[in-house]
Symmetry: C2
Subunit: 431 residues, 2 copies
């Protein structure tokens, strides 16, 4: 069962919008055992859309389009599919009624243009869209089936999850592929790959390493009739070989795992940030229910405020400046105590573009102070090539990852082991 | 001059990576007056890559590929282009020498596989890549020219800016298109569009509205031989009609504009955050040089800490809870004073998923306290449909935008005018 994606919209070709929809769809389809063989973006031009749909169905069994279902003159998907199918566009009375009711309830006048959203290629199936204005469409074409979905991400995901994926899965039959993703943070890809040679050698098992800033995901793919069992064995072996390097699976985030560990232990954390400017707090509070585990934070961006707000000793700052392991430790203990939390996590360092107090860009001290403990301090080595503006943001993000990983390890009572940071050879960001 | 983009890599079809490269390239090419007519993603399969390159050059004058230039077995772009051109892959002695020298300098052994990066389709031009390992390629094919670039974003951008775009611009001749983007925050798209009817009516002028969370960009495109002058006139009229709604142009960020306004006036700002958890501080400190304008912040996530750390009166919190305009005002004045800043900005509200103290999800109070002023407080109306997890993040992001916009207007001495927040009809996120 081969599927192609067709994303429609000038703004995507012009780069105004990044194609997050296609990435989400590719991923959900892959999780469901359905192979996406090509992903295409075309602009809002009738003939180009028709051509792209026809070509896609010349190669694959189904094409899923997003975009072009709105009411304005550049929304052409209905027209394109009707032409490709050789049928007329007809006004659906139920859709029209619903549209008029919706608009009246919002106390707005109905622009005549909006009635285009009640038009449907004759014979097309409607894919219910409780979330938005226009339904999705299923249109039978000579080369296969075309699914047309709205471009608004939440609406697209709703219809994909509720209608399209179940249909495609049913048509495809039993999946012969099973997948599992394990997540690590603060460890070099090459360190992980070296440990997993045994897993790579297993029959019917493929490993993919998916690095992002400071993290590496390992995707294990098992294929064949007993894919599920093979996957289980491969996962067990991988976990044996990686031990505590693995912090979570699938879509778990480091912050989500930290939150869960704190909840389980009835504990809280406070964060003292300098170069990260609030990113650690933002990450921790992105987790629903964070009010139970995140006590609050201080962004002590200047040297002076580290003393005023966190109680870092004046003479320590005068002698060493703000970028020093003892300063990080004092910040961690200070924020823990002032916010009355179980744990304090603190970061101080040099994001750039300029060195600070004689320390080069990339110097970093991270500390975690636990309940009644002496603070732990680490200093990950970061080497990030590239232009100034990018270096700064990459260093900030790496700092967040290293800080959350140190916190996780501290809560679990593990050694503060880090495989150092990003190096030029290991930096394999694609796309 | 028509160009197609071809992004190569399984991880893109599987949705592991979002196609940021294609968006960046589409944008830079459009800025340079070059039209991207299609953008395609294929996986790491030799025949599919060759077919996609040939099809692209059947439609367009040039195709730009990214990805597949690394050393591993799934890096197939060199092979594909050599086959498409009907030539052999040959080992380039200069490349080999450079590769060996680089690896020796990093004190690492040379994996034989790495020598694949010294192979080149016979006759291909090398596009110097000072930033990375493998050079880009220029390959002449029957249907046109193929440019092959590395997938690592920084390397791709370097070669695009230094070599490919200048070449394409020269081949294309004088651009007949000129563009300008103006940026607004906290205003409904429909409000803006209504004001700009006169601009839409101008000859040779097209307007595109590009909404993102809480912001709307307006792209003015002028075409024809006198595009530059037409653009100038259209921009002037647009600015007349929108007045102070426009906060910046092109890639300026709201935080960058706030930083600039503070620097110009020798002033600083501190932020007191609750539901945003540090996002405001993170946004302000993302601007290089922020240490001159951002004094620091407090993330007072709990009701209690608003009193302990910011001095919000106990009885106010006991009577009204944490979500109240007077609490926001006290937070703003409190953080301004405690961090000895010129301005304090504060937010309190309900991000969800649960209501708080009887306030529904989306309740929001934002305050700015200026030098020696009474704080200003606004309460933007947010209506965000959708599933809980998404609502929470969208509300947090909208809060950041509204807070920064209020700060900007306060610094400039403007009314705290906001066109309210996102509503279901106006939410036009694509992709």
């Amino acid at each position: 069962m081969r599927v192609e994606l067709l994303t429609i919209g000038d703004e995507l070709l012009l780069g105004d919008t990044i194609n997050g929809n296609a990435a989400w769809m590719g991923r959900r389809l892959a999780e469901s055992g359905i192979e996406v063989t090509r992903s295409v973006v075309v602009g809002d031009e009738l003939d180009l859309i028709i051509a792209a749909v026809d070509e896609a169905l010349g190669r694959a069994d189904a094409v899923i389009t997003t975009g072009g279902l709105g009411p304005t003159y550049d929304d052409l998907t209905r027209d394109a599919l009707a032409k490709a199918a050789g049928v007329a566009l007809i006004r659906d009375p139920t859709l029209e009624r619903r549209l008029r009711a919706r608009v009246a309830a919002a106390d707005r006048p109905l622009a005549p243009m909006a009635l285009r959203m009640a038009e449907v290629p004759e014979g097309a199936g409607l894919l219910g869209n409780s979330a938005g204005s226009a339904p999705g469409l299923r249109v039978a074409l000579p080369g296969g089936v075309a699914y047309a979905l709205p471009g608004v991400p939440f609406e697209m995901r709703t219809i994909m999850n509720e209608v399209v994926i179940p249909e495609l899965v049913e048509r495809a039959g039993a999946p012969q592929v099973a997948r599992r993703t394990l997540r690590t943070a603060g460890v070099w890809e090459s360190v992980i790959a070296t440990r997993l040679a045994e897993v790579e050698a297993l029959d019917g098992i493929k490993l993919a390493y998916l690095p992002s800033t400071g993290e590496v995901k390992i995707r294990i793919t098992a294929s064949g009739p007993d894919a599920v069992q093979r996957l289980s064995g491969a996962e067990e072996l991988t976990r044996d070989l990686l031990g505590t390097l693995v912090y979570g699976t699938e879509d778990e985030t480091l912050a989500g795992v930290v939150h869960r560990l704190l909840i389980e232990r009835g504990r809280t954390v406070a964060a003292a940030e300098s170069l990260t400017g609030g990113l650690i707090g933002a990450e921790l509070t992105a987790v629903p229910g964070a009010s139970k585990t995140y006590a609050g934070g201080m962004i002590t961006y200047s040297t002076e405020m580290k003393h005023t707000l966190l109680g870092v000793p004046d003479d320590l700052l005068r002698e060493h400046g703000a970028v020093h392991p003892d300063v990080a430790a004092a910040m961690a203990a200070g924020v823990r105590d002032r916010l009355e939390a179980s744990y304090g996590v603190a970061v101080t360092g040099v994001a750039g573009p300029e060195p600070q107090d004689g320390h080069p860009v990339g110097t970093l001290y991270i500390s975690v102070a636990g309940p009644g403990n002496e603070p732990t301090v680490i200093s990950p080595r970061l080497t990030v090539p590239g232009a100034s503006a990018e270096v700064r943001n990459v260093i900030r993000r790496l700092t967040v990852v290293h800080a959350l990983e140190l916190l996780r390890r501290d809560i679990l009572g593990l050694d503060a082991e880090h495989g150092a940071g990003e190096s030029e050879e290991d930096r394999e960001e694609k796309g």
